[in-house]
């Protein structure tokens, strides 16, 4: 991460000059925002950080692991995490908010989407796609198989820690597939990239906002739409005897902060709560960085100049 020093200095100087009054009685200790290792999160966090700097706050970025950071948020060593995904971080977030030391600061406005995904060239071998019932065809499943799983298809799932109920989904919908878990996000997309290079069969867990669905042509499998009942009530849906006979849930991406923020930096907390951005905006920025090689700083600065009216509303 190369943060452009000059740019940051300039911003802080401007911010100091313009927005001193906002700080009047609030602490000038740095507000610590966590950075993780995916581009979308870096952008979201630096957007928020830049906005807070404009409001006159002292901001510090700390690199932290997505899940390990909750220990820091609870103790007040860290103050703000900008992207906790409903789909992957819910458990850890609930555990943390349960202690009372961490609070949920509301949705970011982005919707996490995750589902089975396949590259477009697979439609030739499985003409029924994206309808999920196409996967039930033995020929289709076999097209996705490897030596270890044949004749069943090989579905590459996320890391076990992401949960996702894919084994249950396969059983409930009676799909001739086997779940192989990737250990990390990076491994997951390494396999996707490898397969697309060779135009080889692959079906896997993809999520958005992410660069992969922007870079590769493909589509989400259309399962019966998710409802809470589908996961909780076996009798719901196609299979009367099993839950999980539907697709994966969409979910919010949450902002989460240290509970002490409200007292120490009340206006900053209000600004964080006000912050929203949508999938399309974020998708465009991620593409700009990951595929077109722009720097995160440049993309963030660009957004800041173009959306001045929006963010000044958040800090007043």
């Amino acid at each position: 991460m190369k943060i452009n020093q000059g740019f940051r200095l300039a911003i802080s100087a401007l911010a100091l000059a313009a927005a001193m009054p906002a700080l009047a009685q609030e602490s000038s200790d740095p507000i610590k925002l966590t950075l993780h290792d995916w581009t979308g999160q870096l952008i979201t966090t630096q957007l928020m950080g830049s906005v807070l700097q404009k409001a006159g706050y002292n901001v510090e970025y700390v690199q932290a692991d997505y899940l390990a950071q909750f220990a820091g948020l609870e103790s007040g060593d860290l103050h703000l995490a900008m992207e906790i995904w409903e789909t992957t971080g819910r458990e850890a977030m609930d555990a943390a908010t349960g202690t009372g030391k961490v609070v949920n600061l509301g949705p970011t406005g982005m919707q996490a989407k995750e589902e089975w995904w396949y590259p477009s060239y697979m439609v030739e071998q499985c003409p029924g796609l994206p309808n999920w019932e196409a996967l039930k065809e033995p020929a289709c499943a076999e097209a996705f198989s490897t030596a270890e799983t044949a004749p069943k298809g090989r579905y590459l799932g996320g890391p076990v820690t992401w949960g996702g109920f894919d084994e249950e989904r396969i059983a409930a919908l009676d799909l001739p597939f086997e779940v192989i878990h990737a250990g990390t996000d990076a491994a997951l997309f390494a396999e996707l990239e490898s397969a697309v290079q060779r135009k080889a069969p692959v079906i896997l867990w993809v999520y958005a906002p992410h660069w992969a669905p922007a870079k590769f042509e493909g589509d989400w499998v259309a399962f019966p739409e998710y409802t809470a009942d589908c996961y909780n009530d076996a009798s719901w849906g196609l299979n009367p005897n099993a839950a999980y006979d539907c697709g994966k849930p969409f979910g919010d991406i949450w902002k989460v902060g240290w509970a002490g923020m409200a007292e120490k930096w009340p206006k900053a907390e209000a600004a964080v709560k006000a912050f929203t951005i949508d999938n399309a905006e974020m998708g465009a920025m991620i593409t700009e960085v990951d595929l077109n090689g722009a720097s995160v700083d440049a993309v963030v600065a660009d957004w800041m100049t173009k959306n001045e009216a929006r963010w000044s509303g958040w800090i007043n």
């Binding site: 581009t39 220990a71 590459l156 076990v160 990737a182 250990g183 990390t184 997309f189």
Partner: protein
């Protein structure tokens, strides 16, 4: 003959038991669920108490640890101020100043060659645009290494002086070195606060044990005459330690320093996950966007740091006649570089237009291999999987824990005494009692196969390199690289070519664990007494006979130590293998981390440590027997 017969009989019994006893004694195969020790719950409760309530009256345990981190924070802030962030309105040291200073230090320590090598290493970092991150990493290494060396050495000194302390500390060192870092990450974060200091502490915990062991060993090796001499001239205890013992053990101690540096740099990736930032973060971020070139460049910047630091610290250990004037040289450099930096911005921060980058080159290389050779690679992989890996895995998982415990106990008893046997068997039962038997066996399978392959590769290379000084230099460079290059850098390309799974994990483990296999084999062979080789030659031995009958036999203790270290290295890679989807103890620890369940993580970590201790003790005992049979005196060390 009788000896062989006993072993055959026991093996036969073991096999018979494993194959036939399942219907009769199901509990010997699957530990009864009701009897699984709730160890995870106990440990969770204990850590909760330690973190929230433990108190010394005046202050709580957490306040104490927070105090420690505040103390470490001071030099760390100073180091980052000087190297990467600047302080008091002054900019940080410019890249030019640092390169020249490092070269000067290299010259002071080892002459022109070292000056060039270390200067070039740092220049490499600047040229590839890794400067800012590398200085952040360097700052935390500069704090972690002295703490690790000083702490390790004082523990080693204490253990040398008080044998009781030595006995108490050995198992603790084993645990520190073998419990995967992920297992204690959450408690460390809570105790020491989130950020670079916690990362430094985790690094020290991991990197310190070899220093302690090597200190102990090096002190024991100081010749008795020297000690007698010290007593005769009336040294006080303090003089004895610092004027006699430590200086004469210097060569050994420097091996420890080398290991602390290497292991600290090894932690860079994990440290970056808890707030250390720097190069480790760049590697992770690059690989998440599958930018192999960027990952490789950041990875090699870590290697360059490691090599420069290691070679300088090694050279400093040897006394040289040193001319004066280095201090003035350093001050002059600072002054001139500072002045230049004000005049020319390109001196302060390395200009972007001069930077090199491999860009998309490495990505294209991987893509080319992928497109042209994937099918061939897949065929090779499948053949290995179906014929070797899967059968071994099935075999190991089917073994009854009770049978394994008895068998290992017997091995321990035969190799040393009943105490070793009881220890080994007891630890095996404990692993089963945690209910993690299957995952433990998967771990044994993955690490076992990897160790065999690493030894098969490492032994011949070690043998070849031992006698050819020029080859040895290159081999050493290669194994230092393998030891410090973050495995993520080659793991993701491996995933592209071999898919996720055990095979890819095996590649990563072998690549990392082959280093000690080569290193200790070569060191062992180089240490063989030249007179014995001469004697062999005089008796008309062929080269092959000299190698197999004399050298390899005499080097056996070192080779056994190499095997021991290969196993330790393989086990320490479990954290990484979990990231490519294996279902072993590494995964257990990783799941626990993601659920912030410190008890579950530590139980998984302890199971790994038990496997390591069993292997270590049995190999140690076997090596001792081999030494006794060959009549070689002296002591070997674990490190």
């Amino acid at each position: 003959m009788r000896f062989a017969a006993i072993w055959l009989a026991v093996l036969g019994l073991f096999w018979g038991f494993s194959a036939l006893a399942k219907p009769l004694l199901p509990w010997a195969f699957d530990w009864p669920k009701a009897m699984v020790l709730p160890a995870a719950r106990w440990i969770s409760a204990f850590t909760k108490w330690l973190l929230n309530e433990a108190s010394f009256g005046l202050f709580t345990f957490q306040e104490l640890t927070r105090g420690v981190s505040a103390v470490i924070e001071v030099p760390y802030r100073a180091a980052t101020g000087v190297l990467s962030e600047g302080a008091f309105g002054l900019p940080p040291l410019s890249w030019l100043a640092v390169v020249v200073l490092v070269a000067l230090l290299g010259h002071r320590a080892g002459g022109l060659r070292l000056a060039l090598l270390s200067g070039l290493c740092f220049l490499f970092i600047a040229v590839f645009g890794q400067w800012t991150s590398a200085m952040v990493t360097l700052a935390s290494i500069l704090i972690a290494v002295p703490i690790g060396v000083a702490g390790g050495m004082s523990l080693g000194l204490a253990a040398y002086r008080w044998p009781g302390f030595a006995r108490a500390i050995t198992p603790v060192l084993d645990l520190m070195q073998t419990i995967p870092v992920f297992a204690y990450l959450v408690p460390v974060l809570i105790l020491f606060g989130f950020g670079p200091v916690a990362a430094i502490i985790a690094t020290v915990i991991y990197a310190m044990p070899p220093m302690t062991r090597i200190t102990q060993l090096a002190l024991q090796r100081v010749p008795g005459e020297l000690r007698d001499l010290g007593n005769m001239v009336g040294c006080s205890r303090r003089q004895m330690t610092w004027r006699v013992m430590v200086p004469s053990a210097k060569a050994g101690l420097m091996v420890g320093v080398n290991q602390v540096i290497m292991l600290s740099l090894n932690m860079v990736i994990i440290a970056s996950m808890i707030g250390a930032g720097g190069l480790g973060f760049d590697v992770l971020a690059a690989l998440r966007r599958l930018d192999f070139g960027a990952g490789l460049e950041a990875g090699f910047a870590i290697v360059a740091l490691a090599i420069a630091l290691d070679r300088i610290s090694q050279a400093l250990a040897y006394e040289r006649v040193v001319r004066h004037g280095y201090l003035w040289g350093a001050l002059g450099t600072l002054g001139i570089a500072g002045l230049l930096a004000v005049l020319m911005p390109g001196v302060q921060s390395y200009p972007e237009s001069w930077q090199l980058s491999t860009g998309t080159f490495w990505g294209q290389v991987v893509a080319w291999i992928n497109i042209n050779y994937f099918d061939t690679l897949e065929a090779v992989k499948n053949a290995l999987l179906i014929n070797v890996l899967i059968p071994v895995k099935r075999f190991l998982i089917a073994l009854p824990w009770a049978g394994v415990a008895l068998f290992l106990g017997f091995v321990g008893w035969r190799l040393r005494d009943w105490r070793l046997g009881a220890l080994v068997a007891g630890l095996t039962v404990l692993i089963a009692a945690t209910g993690l038997w299957d995952k433990a066996m998967t771990t044994v399978y993955l690490c076992g196969i990897s160790v065999v392959i690493a030894m098969l590769i490492g032994l011949p290379i070690g043998v070849m390199a031992a006698e050819r000084a020029s080859l040895w230099r290159w081999v050493r460079l290669a194994i230092d690289t393998l030891q410090t290059l973050p495995s993520f850098v080659y793991l993701m390309p491996a995933v592209m070519l071999f898919r996720v799974g055990d095979f890819t994990a095996m590649i990563a483990v072998v690549a990392y664990a082959v280093a000690p296999a080569i290193r200790y084999t070569a060191l062992g062979l180089q240490g063989v007494d030249a007179r014995l080789i001469e004697a062999g030659r005089a008796m008309g031995c062929t080269n092959w006979q000299i190698l197999t009958r004399i050298k390899l036999r005499l080097a056996l203790p070192e080779i056994m130590l190499g095997l021991n270290q290969t196993i330790m290295f393989a086990l320490s890679m479990l954290v990484i293998t979990a990231l490519v989807g294996t279902r072993d103890l590494g995964q257990e620890v990783y799941i626990a981390l993601t659920k912030a369940d410190s008890g579950r993580g530590l139980v998984g970590g302890l199971a790994v440590a038990f496997i390591a201790i069993i292997a270590d003790r049995l190999i140690g005992a076997a090596a001792a027997r081999a030494r006794a049979r060959l009549g070689i005196a002296g002591d070997s060390h674990g490190g």
